[in-house]
Symmetry: C2
Subunit: 422 residues, 2 copies
Amino acid sequence: MTRSVPHGQTRHQVHHGARSVADHAAAVRDLLSGMAAADRIETLPLSAALGRGLALSIDAPVSLPPFANSQMDGYAVRSGDLPGDGADLRIMLPVPAGSTPRPLEPGTAAPIMTGAMIPAGADAVVPIEKAVPDHFLASGDGRAVTLPATAHGTYVRAAGSDIAAGEQALAAGTCLGPAQLGLLAALGIPEVPVYRAVTVLLVTTGDEVVEPGRPLPAGKIYDSNGTLLEAAMKQAGLTVRRSGISTDNPAELTALLRAQCQGADLIVTTGGVSKGAYEVVRQAMADQPVEFLHVAMQPGGPQGMGTFDGVPFLGFPGNPVSCLVSFEMFLRPALSALLGAPAARLPLRARLDLSGLAQPLTSPAPKHQVRRGSLQPDGTVRLEGGESSHLMHALAGSNVLVHVPAGVTELASGDEVEVWML
Amino acid sequence: MTRSVPHGQTRHQVHHGARSVADHAAAVRDLLSGMAAADRIETLPLSAALGRGLALSIDAPVSLPPFANSQMDGYAVRSGDLPGDGADLRIMLPVPAGSTPRPLEPGTAAPIMTGAMIPAGADAVVPIEKAVPDHFLASGDGRAVTLPATAHGTYVRAAGSDIAAGEQALAAGTCLGPAQLGLLAALGIPEVPVYRAVTVLLVTTGDEVVEPGRPLPAGKIYDSNGTLLEAAMKQAGLTVRRSGISTDNPAELTALLRAQCQGADLIVTTGGVSKGAYEVVRQAMADQPVEFLHVAMQPGGPQGMGTFDGVPFLGFPGNPVSCLVSFEMFLRPALSALLGAPAARLPLRARLDLSGLAQPLTSPAPKHQVRRGSLQPDGTVRLEGGESSHLMHALAGSNVLVHVPAGVTELASGDEVEVWML
């Protein structure tokens, strides 16, 4: 697919063939590789690390469980004392969780609570409901309990059965969710090395764009890109700085970027990257090492990337769906790969359900098309809206992105597609 | 499944049959129904509303798009001027996005940019790459362009084609993610009525439990429940207040709850709800309208619920996996149903892959078993760890909960199961 050089844009490097999605994703990852530099590692308490990427792998300093303990409320026993039909055993002092019990004498049973340490000598637990009587005695010490035959190891959680001291607990690059933070806490680790959050300067552009809440003159539209991308970025753990909306005057955009990019790790603009006659981002980047190119993707084909005054820069197209698709296809995967956070989208397979639609799903052969859909519990996915990139209402009714790879031109009901859950 | 009344707990109402998962979920929803009271609705700017539940449905105050506009950079034309082999048309002044163009005279073409208003009289857009010449002329006014035959409506986004003014844009109870907030912005709506965030007082209990970072005496374990649940709750949009760890002294727990529950909408404790001899939460709730019961679920069977000094209370069991399962099965769905946020887990179907495991998946017939697993891109799910509720490391390697409904006792490789993505 060859594109002509847009008028007035000859100073820029322009690709005469479209770049593949994979190649552009790799280029964005390269552009952002500095985010994973060693000097961007910080140590945070667990309560502040939710959603961050683990910068260094962590080995277990202790075993889990740290000691053999009971999986049930019941009686700790020596299994050899309970052959055949079981036996009556003399009841010893109870073992609460948190205590260090005395060794268990042969022929005795110790009341033991869930999580409590198995006494030396004991090798099994009989749950209280299998004992006669089937409840703990208020003052049981010295009385007898009738217990059934019980195999060695029954209801005993062996020390290290979840993880042994010295094993790797979490690999570098793990996204820290509740379970991963909970594991670190269980291991007694109170703080964790993570990558610093990425600060983004987010700039929407366009003479036609008006802030929500203001009156809407004829020919204008409200800015949805700013709200949409800010929310997607915050959800992904980025720190977002919003500029006001830039006009289509390149000098104004340049001044705005220069005034606000201090301390930002990344600049993201929307709009002004295409091949029209008024492409403010292209014009403002004329003297910067920025390339504007076409990715073989629909929507989200026109893209800009490079640096502005040394700050990494991504120029997304101006339509809201194109913006979100650009974020999900390029920025989010790059951060996932480099920092471990946000978590990568899990690709799932789903069967297309086109019932109610007049025609099959079609896609231009050279492009990777990204449609929006709603994944149903039965594993089918319905398309929400058409291929056009302005359909915000349809996007708001979607829960997945539906991928139609380059080379696929038509899909029918029942065909399998890859979807990414949003 | 009949359970005996634990010793010393006779003042409490205790269920002699286990409650079904569905019944307990409904009871928790009832307990929390006050969270959706009208006086808990607040109005937030879009940038502060991410992850909240929409309290009132919202109709579109304007159509999207607000006016017919171009889907491409190209020429706005009257399609009737381009029959058969096309025609040469005189080039008029260009139409940038954001402007209100003059009506298009017959026999002319107006350069138009993506998103710009279609001039009155025009009914189609010819993309620039189909024009001869295939780029915009620096001063094109009055010169001619050769354009191919073009059907009525081509590359025109009709006013209201995404949503028409007056239609419902978002239903009450919608969880506000990036796309939903983006839609509101596109509609010009700057703020939104949402339910107030729920504030939880989270209390972990147990003489055996030690804060991460402190030395670990013999017989003790580190507190992972607090970190795990705090993170899960924060991820779900709750405001979490952590108390210190309570000992197994009921008077101490009561004093701690009384000192810290002011302003909390909900108290959640972990541990001390089972049938052992030292159940601090049961004991501390002795004079409160709280019931302790057994849900037919594994893990997470023992549960407490009611109110403490009038504040809704949920008592989760003491093992970390049980805590997370309790949160995902009862608290999260109740908030989703009442407030629209957090979003409900989407149930998916997956085929079990038990390769590498010595035995099939087994589950006690009367119980709904919740296993942890990792969903693979090919639609299979592998179990992570066994059924035991202390396996934090296995949980940290999981991305789904695997449901084995009551009545199902054995599943083999290839069997289909319901999974919830974490």
